[in-house]
Each structure stands twice: as C-alpha cells, then as structure tokens.
Symmetry: C2
Subunit: 336 residues, 2 copies
C-alpha cells in the first residue's frame, strides 16, 4: 500500500465569544498500515454544525467538550478505500462521527454502512435524511406534539433544521407555518421553496410585532433554533396550551455573558404553556419511525433542500464560521 | 324575615405595583327578600389568594380581570341561613366562588354542598382538601410527572400550596424534598412540621448557591411558586430530564416592569428539561382522583397544615396584603 496521509483540523485554543481561525490548526500526518479490524475512509462530505460551538467551551453540556489539540469530531460521510475488516468492503459508503478530516482510519465498528439509493446524493445523510431531518421530526412530534391544523412558528427557518422543519410540519398536518430568517433572500426562499405560508426578516427588528402580524390568530407550536427575542415573541403569541420545542439558541452561543431570558415567562402559567428542550441523542429510538415516514415524502419529491458547499478540508474552519454568521442557506457542508 | 345585610369588598381602582387599601372599598347593603331558587349563605371563611392580584390588572390572563366597582370574587365556605330552593336546605355547608363578603345571596346552583366530616374544619375545603391541595397534587403528578425516589425543590414552600406540595411529594414517593421560604421561622417549620428534608431562607440571597448546597446531587422536579431567581437557580440545579411545574410567580406579580427571565434557559436544551405552566382550571377532571388519594392520607394524620386566620370581613384587604408580603404561614384565611 502506498503511503497515505490524513489532513485534520484540531482545536488549538478555546474561543472566547466568536471563534476565529487562530482557534484551530490544520495538520497533515502519514497514516500507518491498517491494523486488523480497521478501515480507511476517504470522506466525501464533512458537516459543520452549530452545536460544535458549544463543545469548544470547557463547560458541562450534553456532549463532552472537545479536547485541546484534538480533532473536531462530528458527522461525515465517506467511502471505504482500504479495509482490513470483513464487515466493510472497499467501496462501501459510510456515515461516521470522526469529524473534520479528509481521510480517516479507525476500527470498522465506528462506521455505519449507508444504503446507496439512485438519485440520493450522499450528502443528504448529513442533513435531510440524517440528524438534521430527524431533529426537525422529533421536535415537531415527540416534543411539541403537533396536532392537525395547528399554527407553527420556526425561528432561524432558513437553516438546515429550519428548512426541514417547515416542510415536515406541513406534511405532518400543520395548518399554517411561519418562519423567521436573517436576510430578504432567505425570507423569499422560505415562502417560495420551503412551503412556509409567511416569513419575516428578524434583522428588521421587532420580532414580536412581525410574528403577531404573520400569526394574527396566534401560534400553537414554536420550534426554536434561535432563543432570545424569538422566544419572547413566541411566548407573547402563544395560544393557550402552546408547546415549544427548543432545539437551538444560536443567539446565545457566542455571548460571553449569558443574556437575560424573556420577560414574559409568566405567560407559561396563565396560558398553560410548555417549553421543552431536547437533543437528538435521547431520541435515537425514533430513527426507524423517522426514516419510514420521511423517506417516502422525499422520494415523492415533496421535500426540497438547499446545500451551501465549500470545497476542500482546508476551508472547513471558514465554512464553520460562515455558518455561525448565517452565510449558509440550508445545510453547510465541506466537500472533500 | 328580618332585614339582612351583606358587607362586601369591591375593587375601587386597579393597583399599579403593590396594591394598597385605597384600591378597595367596603360597602354594606341590605339584602332583598329571597327570590325563588335563591339561597342566603353566611360565610365561615373567605379565601385570599395570590392569583387575585393578577385579576386586579386589566390584562389578558387565564381568568377575566375583576371589574371596577364589583366584588372581589374567589373561594369561600359558608352555611345556608335561608333557602328558597329545594336542593339546598338551611344549615347546609357550602363551597362557592362569590368571594369577599360576609353574607351572600345568589341562585342555589352557584353553591356546592360539602360533606361534613367530624374532625375536618370547614376551612380545609379552602386549602388542603380544596384547590390548594389539588394544585400541589396536579403539579406534582400531571405536570411534573414525579417519579419514585426523585429529588423535588419547592419555592415559596411555606405558603399554602408549598406546605401541601412537600408533604404530597413525599407521600407520592419523592426521595428528597427541599424548600425555600422567606424567614428563619418558616424555614424551621418546613423541616420540623412539613416533612421537608432541607430548607433555606431565600432572603439570605444566593438562591442558586443555597439550592446547590441543599441538593448536592441535583434536582429532578421543581414546583415553582416564586419565579425569578428561584427559576434560574432550579435551571442550574436540574439533572438531565428535569421537569418544572410552574404554578405561581409571586416575585413578578407586583412588578410594574416585567423582570428579565433566567439567563440560563439554554440548559433546557443541553439537559433536556421541560418547563410547564398550569392553572387548576384545566385539570378539574382530576378532582376525583385527588380526593380518593389524598383524603385517606389526611384521615391517617399524615398531612399537617397551618392556617393564618384574620378575623372580620372588614380586615380582608389587610389579610390579602399580608399574604402578598409573605406574612402568612400556610393558608391565609378571613374568618367571618
């Protein structure tokens, strides 16, 4: 076997506030010969996700912080290019959590073989048919318990989870779906491509007023990717018995001082509301249900998606920072 | 029938911030002859409750605001002293919502006959065996879904709901129950009389620190009567999968400007927490279950209670204001 190398992105220092390129280092190492039971995978796509920012802090969270000097781990999809294990043959498409590298070598058990479906690009396993789509599905069903005909508000709706959420809400029976996004272009996409009935630009300010105008009869379900003033606006707009699935709080991820919460939490009591946070790790038992319900919708062409693709492992940090600044439409990916 | 009078307390003006005696007027009127279908009830006890403060505002809430110039309505227990209706004989003990008056005359259908159990004072139907006890029960069971062995934190634990909550939590299987209260005397009562395993004085400050010390292994359930820094402290102390039943927010009731919410709401996401507000009106279908489970515990002497009793309808406003300031231990009542 000829000498192979792996280029990886490591966490060099913990960001304070917004991360910058100096917080990361790129290193290229030679790979050893495969040990028995190992495979070598050449990645096709590497995922950059908001939750990674939380893991760069050294604080208690639902997953352990990244260690300094180690590779940023996370979702990626690639193909086996060499195998010393009977279960994964060369050429197999695989999903894994080894993260930010172009080539990875590890025990075969740390990779999952993926079905290769004609017309389904491998990148979809990193979003609409993977964790992203399932996050939307779990939030709407298991957490918010969406019922037929209800009005749904999705914050940060032009992101990877948000674009999936609006469409799945409709397919699950929602009456009216409203989204917020951070630019006029994204707002237009929400109603023109992603099936939202109404959308507004939160950078125009007055989120509560814009939401009230878009949902004159109030909202029943809130799927929150943003937190902050979006949560306060939703609490004001909720009908009695409303439910929020709290999925993300991108507004707070880079704050060095924790921002104060909404001033209208007492609405929880007077209107009988529920706020529930979740991370997908506790709902993996719903993966089968998710695939069974959503794959046919996808096959029927009823689910649109966008990808923002950056080329080259050396541009991964730039892709991550761009995603944090909201420069992506749909799922942000690095193509190797 | 000799001429009878009714002394009532009316809302004269809407309080801004803390209510004061000027917001109320006391009026005594002669009662007309009983019309067919009416009864006249002499109250024994009249209830003053935190939720009444909310109804004094002219704002959307779970019950309509009080009208200016009209009687403050709410729970009371009394005895029929004259009847022009076949269903309620003179002498019957009744529960009703006619509120702050010494004598009330109204259609018989607006009163509910109460069982007279030896050793059960009539006042208990205004708290431990009535709405108060049921609020504690519903919050712990239907809302927070308390499980065997869990650690429970109750804020404002020396109040009417709080004293019931700690005891019911234990009877429902909680492992450890922690309460906060607003004076050293109340704190002592919590552990000596009300079965709390630990208690602290929130007026000593650092609610988060005191809670962490009392619950070194974290909390699983939070029953909140206070809001504000108590909610923030609970969010910091929650174990993964924790649930909060939000019952009251006495810290916010008299604020003229809505206070900011907790700064650590993102813990909802990272720890998979749930905050759910409730008012008893939506859970009245659980009244039978509540009475079936709790009455035997009471009969076995396993539920202690306190009452703070003020005498005389003319002192009702004082009783209400005292309750808002935390001067009561257990249920605040006006004895007629």
């Amino acid at each position: 076997m000829s000498t192979a190398t792996s280029t990886q992105i490591l966490l060099a220092s913990r960001p304070t506030g917004w991360p910058s390129p100096e917080n990361f280092t790129t290193t290229t190492t030679e790979l050893a010969e495969l040990a028995p039971g190992e495979v070598r995978v050449r990645n096709e796509f590497v995922s950059v996700d908001p939750y990674m920012r939380g893991r760069m802090n050294d604080s208690r969270s639902y997953v352990a912080p990244y260690a300094l000097g180690e590779r940023i781990t996370g979702g990626a999809v690639g193909r086996v290019i060499a195998s010393a294990d009977g279960t994964l043959a060369e050429g197999t498409l695989v999903l894994h959590q080894h993260g930010w590298s172009d080539t990875i070598q590890a025990p075969a058990a740390t990779f999952s073989a993926l079905p290769e479906v004609p017309g389904v690009p491998s990148s979809l396993h990193l979003h609409i048919l993977g964790m992203t789509g399932m996050t939307a599905y779990v939030g709407l069903t298991a957490i918010a318990q969406l019922r037929e005909g209800e009005t749904v508000f999705v914050s940060g709706a032009a992101g990877a989870v948000g674009t999936a959420t609006g469409q799945l809400a409709k397919l699950l029976g929602a009456g009216r779906v409203i989204g917020s996004a951070g630019s006029p272009e994204k707002v237009a996409l929400l109603t023109q491509k992603y099936g939202y009935d109404a959308a507004f630009d939160y950078k125009d300010g007055d989120v509560a007023g814009q939401l009230a105008a878009a949902a004159p009869e109030g909202i029943d379900v809130f799927f929150d990717n943003v937190g902050g003033d979006h949560l306060e606006a939703a609490l004001a707009a909720f009908n009695d018995g409303g439910r929020a699935a709290l999925c993300g709080a991108i507004s707070a991820y880079n704050a060095t001082e924790a921002p104060a919460g909404p001033r209208n939490l007492t609405n929880l009591i007077t209107r009988g509301l529920r706020l529930e946070g979740f991370t997908l790790g506790h709902y993996l038992h719903l993966a089968g249900e998710f695939r069974e319900r959503v794959t046919p919708w996808f096959a029927e062409g009823r689910i649109a998606y966008d990808e923002t693709v950056v080329d080259g492992i050396e541009n991964t940090v730039e892709a991550f920072l761009g995603m944090m600044r909201g420069q992506n439409t749909g799922k942000m990916l690095v193509r190797i």
